[in-house]
Amino acid sequence: MSKRLIELNNISKSFNGNLVLDELDLYIRENEFLTLLGPSGCGKTTTLRIIGGFETPDTGSVMFNGTDITSLPPNKRQLNTVFQKYALFTHMNIEDNIAFGLKIKGKSDKYIKDKIEYALRLVNLEGYGKRMPDSLSGGQQQRIAIARAIVNEPKVLLLDEPLGALDLKLRQDMQYELIRLKEELGITFVYVTHDQEEALTMSDTIVVMNQGYIQQIGTPEDIYNEPENAFVADFIGDSNIIDGIMLQDELVMFLGTKFPCVDTGFGTNKPVDVVIRPEDVILSPPERGSLNGVVTHLIFKGVHYEMEVQAGGYEWLVHSTTMYPVGAEVGLSVDPFNIQIMNKPASEDEEAVSIEE
Amino acid sequence: MKNRLSSSLKRLYIALIFIFLYAPIVTLIVLSFNASRTRAKWGGFTFKWYVSLFSNRDIMGALYTTLMIALISSAVATVMGVLTCIGLRFMRPGTRSFILGVTNIPMLNADIVTGISLMLLFLSMGMRFGFGTILLSHITFNIPYVILSIMPRMKNLNMSVYEAAMDLGASPMYAFIKVVMPELLPGILSGFLLAFTMSLDDFIITHFTKGAGIDTLSTKIYTEVKKGIKPEMYALSTIIFVTVLILLILVNKPDKNNKAKENTPSPIVIP
């Protein structure tokens, strides 16, 4: 793997007595697309603002390329930010917006002109240079905000929920656009979002955060398939999270039924959380599954049917391409490989404990 | 370190502005306790002006006129302002901005010009200068403040709540009172208070539209300037000021976020 470009060590930050980040440790590699993902108030934006230099942490240090930049003001940092709601300068035209950072640095007119042209081409907005920001659509303003940041050739681009204000279709288009940009520029992206789909689509690494703690760091596949705790499982996609007891290695009991699984090392007779994705529940005619149940709700979702099945005293969420009508008796089974076992938190608090690799 | 320095500089700056704004007010309050009749020298502490104030017919009469003018003119202006805003909503944008432009005139124009223009009007109509002419003038310069306080709320008003109320069976009048009024109320209240304050503090327009034999506090003070202000006037001003100060503190204290925003006369408090 490439080297660590940014390191956050032991970062804590509170606002008016509210602890927003608690002893956070995180590193970001060169050329990585890293996403900070979590619900609002989880500390993801604060983390980004600390990297950008808009907040100073109460404790801890921020290292950039081996040097401590904790107290360096934003205008001295080699990174640029794309802000929520774009923060374009409404009194300047597009060209002047893009040229802002370059003029401050005292670049030559020729250089600036070339850069503007290059940046506008990069974000597919050639010919928009003389327009005012207000006359552009949300998606176009977003691209200008990105162009304004990247002409400064930052080592890292910080993006704070940049697609939050766009509608769904545009958001999906922009996701591909951002991936393309990242490839072309070959720089590090640090991306903040609360949208799990966005995170899964674009990231190399996802950092799931909640209540100021990092819950899990991993590739999109890791995070989706092997959530480390109930919070991550619940936040990333829909899940059936069921109380269970790990009887021994590779055997778990829940809802009064024993299921073989692939997890080991939990000890014997240990209470655990069992996570099963709705698409991993296999429906069959009754008596052919491990559990019997009755379909209580049915919705057609296009790609699949979403069903709720009452079985073993639990309301299962099931995604299936085969339709069973409401009231039908079905059998449920799960491939051992798709049963995810997680330790129960010892207390409510521990649900938010940082789990570092 | 740098932050602490700049924040204490800021505090110092605000403090200096406060001293600048309040030094005259403190001076007046001190003068109201001055036993000497002239403001030039301090003659010891006394409460006597506060007592003699209430037997001073001139001052009490001017106070009565001032309050009546302020109360009636701001009430009439508020009623007319609310009706106007509702009507404006249904007009074509062009007509609306023309009317709002005319409304802006008394606010942007110089008071002396407004005062003179009204004086000429009353003269040419052969009206007797007195309570009536003052009242008409005050209503005229108060309406713009009311309209400009209500209009922003009117613009933001979601008409579908009104339609929803009617959809649920309310009569238009009932829907208006139950649904639209509560939305406008903060604007109406602040408009009324602003108009009241403006009317109370006005001197110039009253100066040109009043007749002999009637005075508001402002014009009374103006005529006293040459002979020397009666200390009772300082006492009265202090009473008014302290009353408003206490009211403002009461309104601001218990529920800082809501009440302060809704009740203070200045809509700028509504971010």
Binding site: F54, F89, F100 | F20, M80, L83, I112, L120, D201, S266
Partner: protein, 274 residues
């Protein structure tokens, strides 16, 4: 439905009548009086009399003093508005700065400066106690400017404050992010974005300062005449309404010029006081 809409429109009726009778017609009366003589015949004499030595001196002095007062208000008010806009719990302070002083009568407030500024007044006593030289500005143009700044400073701060609070924090952050230091951010971002507020503030201070007759009377002694004093005398002492109206028309040229400028710079009403 159409009928109902028309009926609702009628609710503006009383005010439209009022505005015609008490705003538009009175202004027309000024023009009528200003452009006629006592016999009712058309004349430019009233307006041209601004060129006489006495009147033009008063006008130039008014323009000079009100420009100085406006500039001082801008220089004092901008930092104040900027500090207020950055404060968290500001509603209280704003009320105390802008609303509360209005409840102490305008004339008394201004008169109090006499007591403060007099040769043996409060300020000089304090200065003497500190062994500093005394200031003698009462009954001079300086005192008039001070009175203008004192009375109209809030009108400058309010629109500035409104346009400053309208700037998104992230726009300033973006400028810093792109390498601008504090001064650069102020000059390239904050200042241009607050131009509507600045223009509106200048208008709000310049017009009343230009036209005042009270402040000059209370703080300037009887020797200093501003154009406002000249006009006021025509109405309350000389009784020459035609001349007073003519001079008012001259004054209105400045006021209208001011309004046009503020309308051009402030299309969205951003700098409105309200």
């Amino acid at each position: 439905m159409k009928n109902k809409k028309d009926r609702t429109k009628l609710m503006s009726g009383p005010y439209l009548f009022w505005a015609l009778a008490f705003i538009i017609i009175p202004l027309c009366m000024i023009f009528y009086y200003g452009l006629t003589d006592r016999s009712g015949a058309f004349t430019m004499q009233n307006i041209m009399s601004i060129a006489t030595a006495e009147h033009s001196k008063a006008l130039w002095l008014s323009i000079g003093l009100s420009l100085i007062a406006t500039l001082i208000c801008l220089l004092l008010g901008y930092p104040l508005a900027a500090i207020l806009a950055r404060m968290k719990n500001r509603s209280g302070i704003i009320v105390f700065i802008f609303i509360l002083p209005m409840w102490m009568n305008f004339l008394l407030r201004t008169l109090a400066w006499q007591t403060l500024l007099e040769k043996t007044g409060v300020i000089n006593s304090v200065l003497a106690a500190l062994n500093l030289p005394s200031i003698n500005i009462i009954n001079t143009s300086y005192a008039i400017v001070l009175g203008m700044v004192y009375n109209f400073l809030p009108f400058m701060v309010l629109p500035l404050y409104n346009s400053l609070t309208r700037i998104d924090d992230n726009v300033l952050n973006a400028a810093a992010d792109l390498g601008a230091n504090g001064v650069q951010t102020f000059l390239k971002i904050t200042l241009p974005l607050t131009i509507p507020g600045i223009i509106s503030g200048i208008t709000m201070v310049f017009v009343p300062a230009l036209t005042t007759f009270v402040i000059s009377k209370l703080l300037g002694g009887s020797k200093i005449l501003l154009i406002g004093n000249v006009i006021e005398e025509q109405f309350t002492q000389t009784g020459n309404w035609h001349l007073g109206s003519g001079l008012s028309i001259v004054l209105m040229v400045f006021i209208i010029f001011n309004m046009v400028i503020s309308a051009v710079f402030d299309k969205n009403g951003e700098g409105n006081v309200l």
